[in-house]
């Protein structure tokens, strides 16, 4: 029992096996993500009642909060995969880490834009130097730094390890940033904005939020699988299994 899990992981980490595995997984993940997304959006936009304080503007929460969760979740995945890549030099971990970065950056961007669009009618401003907003912005810069460093290297595997190292440094940095901005903000202005208030979210509002969170998670799995597949083809372009794959009919 304890023996076959590492063995299975070891088998899975070989590129051809993972390529086939990801190819089998992503249509399911994407299909389920679309179904959950459709149900969640219907619940979010139609079924959920308007908030008694914020009216219909609060409906932005249904994409803002799942995106914010994903931006942090993906960063954590990236950092763990980077750690594995830097320490054990496993090719698949490098691929997972580096292909997660653009997806995470996309979710971080969505979080910032939707938060901005939510903040304007609610607080009367697009942006405020609140600890959460600033940390999210720093997260976006970290993602961009990781992506930029990865592409600055000629050798892609080396670039992946260097960028992974940066990702690991970044995850130490984020709590410090959050803490320092919190400290700084309390110095400058007395109160910070309270996102969710103390009021409990009604069940009608909660289930679309959870369903959409599930949808974004599934979407990440699907997108990661597809990106990793494309990346593996590029990385392993000289291997026989890729040649068999891209040339299904041998030239006459």
């Amino acid at each position: 029992m304890t023996r076959w899990i590492p063995l299975w992981l070891h088998r899975l980490s070989s590129p051809p096996t993972f390529y086939r595995f990801a190819g089998a997984v992503w249509p399911w993940a994407m299909g389920l993500a679309l179904v959950a997304g459709a149900i969640g959006l219907y619940g979010a936009l139609v079924l959920a009642p308007p908030d008694y304080q914020q009216g219909d503007a609060y409906r932005i929460i249904f994409i803002h909060v799942p995106s914010a969760w994903m931006s942090m979740f993906i960063y954590a995945v990236m950092a763990v995969a980077s750690f594995v890549a830097v320490v054990w030099r496993i090719k698949l971990a490098e691929v997972v880490a580096m292909q997660s970065a653009p997806i995470g950056a996309a979710f971080t961007f969505i979080t910032l834009v939707s938060g901005s669009l939510w903040g304007k009618p609610m607080w009367g401003t697009w942006w405020t130097w609140d600890a959460r907003l600033t940390s999210e912005l720093v997260l976006l810069f970290l993602y961009l730094g990781v992506i930029g460093l990865y592409h600055a290297f000629e050798d892609r595997r080396q670039g992946a390890r260097a960028a992974g190292f940066l990702a690991i440094i970044g995850i130490i940095n984020v709590p410090i940033v959050h803490f320092s901005v919190n400290w700084w903000n309390t110095l400058h202005q007395g109160s910070t904005i309270n996102f969710f208030g103390t009021s409990k979210i009604a069940a009608d509002m909660l289930w679309p939020l959870l369903v959409l969170t599930l949808a974004t998670k599934l979407y990440y799995v699907a997108s990661l699988c597809r990106r990793a597949r494309a990346d593996l083809l590029a990385l392993e372009g000289n291997k026989a299994w890729v040649h068999e794959l891209v040339a299904p009919e041998p030239a006459p």
């Binding site: 932005i60 597809r226 494309a230 083809l233 040649h243």
Partner: protein
Amino acid sequence: MSGSWQAFLDMGGYAAYVWPAYAVFLAVLLGDSLVPTLRRHRIVQELRARLVRQAVRQDAAHAATGNESGATAAPSRST
């Protein structure tokens, strides 16, 4: 019916904020899901072209060695 549809689009007066947020969400994720498709297509094209080139080169080399054995065939190739 049209009234409720209007009310839905209006979003209680917050249409200018709610709909762009959802549009950005969907547009960014759609863009994100197009990237691997395009990249995969490009990589496969490149690899195929490389394989074809390799095959041609191998054929040429094969033909050259095959022709060298017959001394008379070699000049006819050069013309």
